[in-house]
């Protein structure tokens, strides 16, 4: 295996470069996936003859908390990659740990939101609007949940093996995934919640 020391370690082998490229192509497919869910949501959002409308259902404060948690976690994982490139293992693991905690916090608020909606009688079966809403939010939340497990495994590997071309590659690819989820959330925040609250 040829290691190129002129680039950051996560790019240092041919295989690593291919894995990063491959992950970008996967993110392209994820854009297509979320686009279909947004298309369904925009199509069904006014189907609220039964059950609440977006304006009735949404509250700004939990959504703002979710947004701030996820934006901050995107920042801390960026700092984690920066620390990794400086070869600082402990700060990198700390930043990744904070990122995962913020992600768990986000999920907690999202679950609380779902429980509130359901207790108000707004379930996935109530109306077309709610089916589309829960599918879109749920798919994003599922990605975050998977990210917590994936990120946790990477922190454990870095703790055990330190920075190698393999572990740094995995950590970098995970950071791409996490930033991508933040971007998807920004679109949910803007075009589902804020647009819904606009009335």
């Amino acid at each position: 295996m040829k290691i190129d020391h002129t680039v950051p370690m996560e790019y240092s082998t041919e295989e690593n470069k291919m894995k990063i490229l491959g992950f970008w192509i996967f993110l392209g497919a994820e854009i297509a996936l979320f686009s279909t869910l947004f298309a369904v949501y925009f199509t069904l959002q006014s189907n609220t003859k039964v059950g609440p409308s977006a304006t009735d259902l949404f509250h700004l404060s939990p959504v703002m908390i979710e947004t701030i948690l996820l934006l901050t976690s995107s920042f801390t994982i960026g700092l984690g990659i920066h620390a990794m490139r400086l070869g600082l293992k402990k700060p990198m693991m700390t930043f990744f740990g904070i990122t995962l905690l913020l992600g768990a916090g986000f999920l907690g608020v999202e679950v609380y939101e779902f429980v509130t909606y359901i207790s108000e009688g707004a379930t996935i079966q109530t109306s077309g609007f709610l089916s589309a809403l829960f599918t879109l939010l749920g798919t994003h939340g599922l990605h975050v949940t998977f990210g917590l497990l994936w990120g946790g495994a990477i922190v454990a590997q870095v703790a055990k093996r330190g920075f190698t071309p393999e572990t740094s590659n995995k950590a970098f690819i995970f950071s791409l995934y996490w930033h991508f989820l933040d971007v998807v959330w920004i679109f949910i925040f803007s075009f589902v919640y804020l647009k819904g609250l606009m009335g």
Binding site: V7, Y11, K17, I20, L21, W24, I25, L27, G28, A29, I31, A32, F34, S35, T36, F38, A39, V40, F42, T43, L60, M64, T67, I68, L71, T72, S74, F75, I77, G78, L79, I81, H82, A83, L86, L88, P91, S175, L176, H179, F180, D182, V183, I186, F187, F189, S190, F191, L194, K195, L197, M198
Partner: protein
Amino acid sequence: MMKQLFPAQHVMGFLFSLLLSLIALVVVWFDLSFTAGITILIVTALVQAGLQLFLFMHVKENAESKTLYLNILYALFVGLVTIFGTLFAMHWGYMVR
């Protein structure tokens, strides 16, 4: 040490992303027309996405960045055709009633 761990570019990018979310709130706080509101949301969301892409996802420094841009543009094309094609068929009167 703190300066090393918190590069100014990242900190500024983070503060800017929080600011963009606050700017987007304008559409809820003020009674804007639909067109004005949706324009603000599109602009703030796109700037946010660009910020993540260039600052945090390091798309520029990748040796294959041209391939990445092409891939992202293609994915966006597929996504936009999916969304606007669906709206065209289901809402904007393409269907014959």
